[in-house]
Amino acid sequence: MNGAGTDPLLLGLAAGDERAFAALYDRYARRLYRAALGLLGRREDAEDVVQDVFLATVRAHESLREVRDLTTYLFAALRRAAGRCAQRQARAPKASETTAEDAVAPVERAAEDHPQWHRLQQAIRALPNEQREVLTLKIDGELTFAQIAEVLGVSSGTAASRYRYALKKLRTSLAGRKISLESSR
């Protein structure tokens, strides 16, 4: 648990210090971005959502003194922003939809354009939403079950249970897709 009284980053954020927001970005952007990409599947949407999270944090910066756990706070904001983005996607014409693979920038394809990676993404995206959400927050967001529970508004037990179901389903799915767990690369 953090708190504005003990965490200099939170104090800086609450005071509206630009350097604190830069430090916040450096500390959390990667995890937030990966989680957003896991939830939404499109690079440009993930980037928009990360920006939304930071803007929401700026708008509420004075109330950050009350925040106990900054990680949970940010990922809860991410989930709300991702939800709004998904609603916009649902309203948008189908023709404009692309998948996570389509949305990856060419420069990064070298690292990601491995057939196994594509199959893994397909298997993850085939999971039920609530399981995929927990899996994404755990693996990409690197959250604990207690933090996931707070973000989702469920108990820790429910979060852990959904995670296990997700792993179980994913294991079957990966076996069906002939993906070896020996190496992910």
Binding site: Y33, E47, Q51, E108, W117, L120, L135
Partner: protein, 142 residues
Amino acid sequence: MENRPLAREFERLEQFLASAPRPEPSVALRQRVLGSVRSQLRRQRRVSRWRFAMALAAMLLLSLGPLLAAAHAANLVLQRRESLPSLHEVARRIQQLSPDISSEESVRRAMLIRIAAEAGCQAKLSDSYGRVLGYQSPGEML
């Protein structure tokens, strides 16, 4: 039950997922996000300053009205005088007359009285506040 350690069969899968190559946010995203953060912070600071100025102006206007009305109700004539007592002197006299009010409040009232007096208004002040500004008796022209 739900928080028990993951079964060994899932551990490998979890390790596999955690080590899977995953996309990184682009370098441009940092610049974009921090740029919008900076703009938003500046916008909020501008709005805060305006709100403060408007609140101060509203408070002054709202305070001036009741003060002048009270001055009319009392039966003392206030006129412009060449040299009014200093702010601190007026505040000191107010505190003498009303020892129960704080020094900040006495300074605030002194400011309002001086504003009213310097505006050259023909308001009538209460006996007490007339004395604060140097009246010797009700109705005395300053």
